[in-house]
Amino acid sequence: MSITIYVPADAAALALGADAVAAAITREAARRGMDIRLVRNGSRGMFWLEPLVEVATARGRMAYGPVAAGDVCGLFDADFAGGGVHPLLLGFTEDLSWLRQQRRLACRRIGVIDPRSLADYKAHGGGEGLRRSRSLAPAEIVSAVTASGLRGRGGAAFPTGIKWKTVLDTAASQKYIVCNADEGDSGTFSDRLLMEGDPFQLLEGMAIAGLAVGATQGYIYVRSEYPHAIEALNRAIEGARDWLGNGPGKFTIEVRKGAGSYVCGEETAMLESIEGRRGIVRAKPPLPAISGLFGQPTVINNVITFASVPDIFAQGADIYSGMGCNRSRGTLPFQLAGNIRFGGLVEVPFGLKLRDLLYDFGGGSRSGRPLRAVQVGGPLGAYLPESQFNTVLDYEAFAAIGAGLGHGGIVAFDDTVDMAKQARYAMKFCAIESCGKCTPCRIGSTRGVEVIDRIGAGQAGQIALLRELCDTMTHGSLCAMGSMTPYPVLSALNHFPEDFA
């Protein structure tokens, strides 16, 4: 009987040498005349352990990591294919405390299954949500999504069921389902991990959305920085053709590649881009749910939002509503990034404290120095000082301190960070990425860089001007690019004034 060995083909694992490890394992097995089956899975999201090699044994999967190509011969010598003891042996994967302390729902198959195999997806419970929703009326599907309390995971946390209902209630001969896979926020990679590690779940969620609102065509807009995700999705779409393309709710999905524009993650700019224009933000109304892609009613959701949908039908609407705190229901896949020792994917129910993530999961800084600032929610997210590390991770608690969770990205900085520089970068990023439609964002961001430079040159009087400028951007911008850039700028200024002196 052949032995199954897992070596991730996730982009981060590849960046850390996974292909060389896979090649060495194949070579070494052949040399020893061993019959192995090599599965290129996604990543479990423990990046300090990548490349993480797993071996299927009768008692469960054993994990070894981080494995370098040069370790492979020694691993075979230690009979790792039989779960043998070796300095890189971590134990049974499921027992690793970093994973055990999580509550993985949307991300539970990532790293577990073979993302190229629809059969493996189905063997792990995939497909059940679509099967059940095929016997429901559209309005029943929508009310189950509403009842689950699911809110959009792309950043704005808008209730998904309400959005779907608007599209359902808008009569049109053609409607669209669009998945926002632009994932432009620094410090985020959960969409990428899911697209590479469990792409069928995303397709299934989109197909259910199609049934719910009466749409037969879907698009996934993926950023050009993610070639591996694009490849994984195209392969999955090919593999799912018979599954999704037949019977009631026949559904077609096409991948569209972005072109390096952050603002194209804003939903209306994304629609412009798919339609073949510059990614300029559209004024709302009309809502995309009423007049979206090619002027038709359109459901737009984030990757994780769609991926959360199948379980609502496979396991029941209370799967999310029974977990979390306040009006933040279910789990959020947080992403620990930047200067952090144990960085990666942490899917937990809302309600932990930021500190728990940073220290219990993250193990503090990678450099070993004290953590000084943490940016939550991407380039438009606030910088939090140590005194705010006890904030509870839910949408309401973050709103209360003038911050946001966004897409769940958490970027840690140690005490060598210069917060005036980070504030300057926030303005500069806005200047680079602004779509140019409104003046406060287009011009204000460039002025912001100049003002911060003058503050740095000793003109403390300019701080009042910076605040005024932020105020104008907050209130005068059409979209969050301009109106939220003040979050990182003002939080840096308010919590770390010593860096602006």
């Binding site: 960046a15 850390l16 990046f47 432009g184």
Partner: protein
């Protein structure tokens, strides 16, 4: 310019294959750049005609998106991540090192704002095919040395 007709044939074939897609412009531009490494100016009138757009509209789209290039790149394109999570672990120093190292080189250096490798930065992408994580200046030099000897 003896290879010009070949370029034009490529452009023609791509436009013909994709022009009937809804929102065909970005897919066409991507395929041209993937095939030729950049978007030659002679593609603009052809695309405009096929999609019933003005040349200014096509040109406007090419210049709006950072990903699209109007001139041929060097032998390889190196993209160093300049976004926050990589900044937190020395990304800026790496970007500056890369700039100095590649001055006068026939390799192209471009900034990129996040590659989704934010837990293992600083991150580097070479030619959209190869990724590298936790890149130090020394590791960068070794990668560049290898690219320079091996064409």
């Amino acid at each position: 310019m003896e290879n010009l007709p070949a370029i034009e044939r490529t452009i023609e074939a791509i436009v013909a294959a994709k022009q009937s897609l809804p929102g065909a412009l970005l897919p066409i531009l991507h395929e041209i750049q993937d095939g030729l490494g950049y978007i030659p100016s002679e593609s603009v009138p052809r695309i405009a005609k096929a999609l019933n757009l003005s040349r200014a509209e096509v040109h406007g789209v090419i210049t709006y998106y950072q990903h699209f290039r109007q001139i041929p790149p060097g032998r390889h394109v190196l993209r160093v991540c300049c976004a926050e999570a990589c900044q937190a672990v020395g990304g800026e120093a790496l970007a500056e090192h890369a700039r100095l190292r590649l001055q006068g080189s026939d390799l192209t250096l471009e900034p990129v704002y996040c590659l989704g490798l934010c837990a293992c930065g600083p991150a580097l992408q070479i030619d959209e095919t190869t990724l590298h994580a936790r890149v130090t200046p020394q590791k960068f030099d070794a990668l560049v040395d290898a690219l320079e000897v091996d064409p």
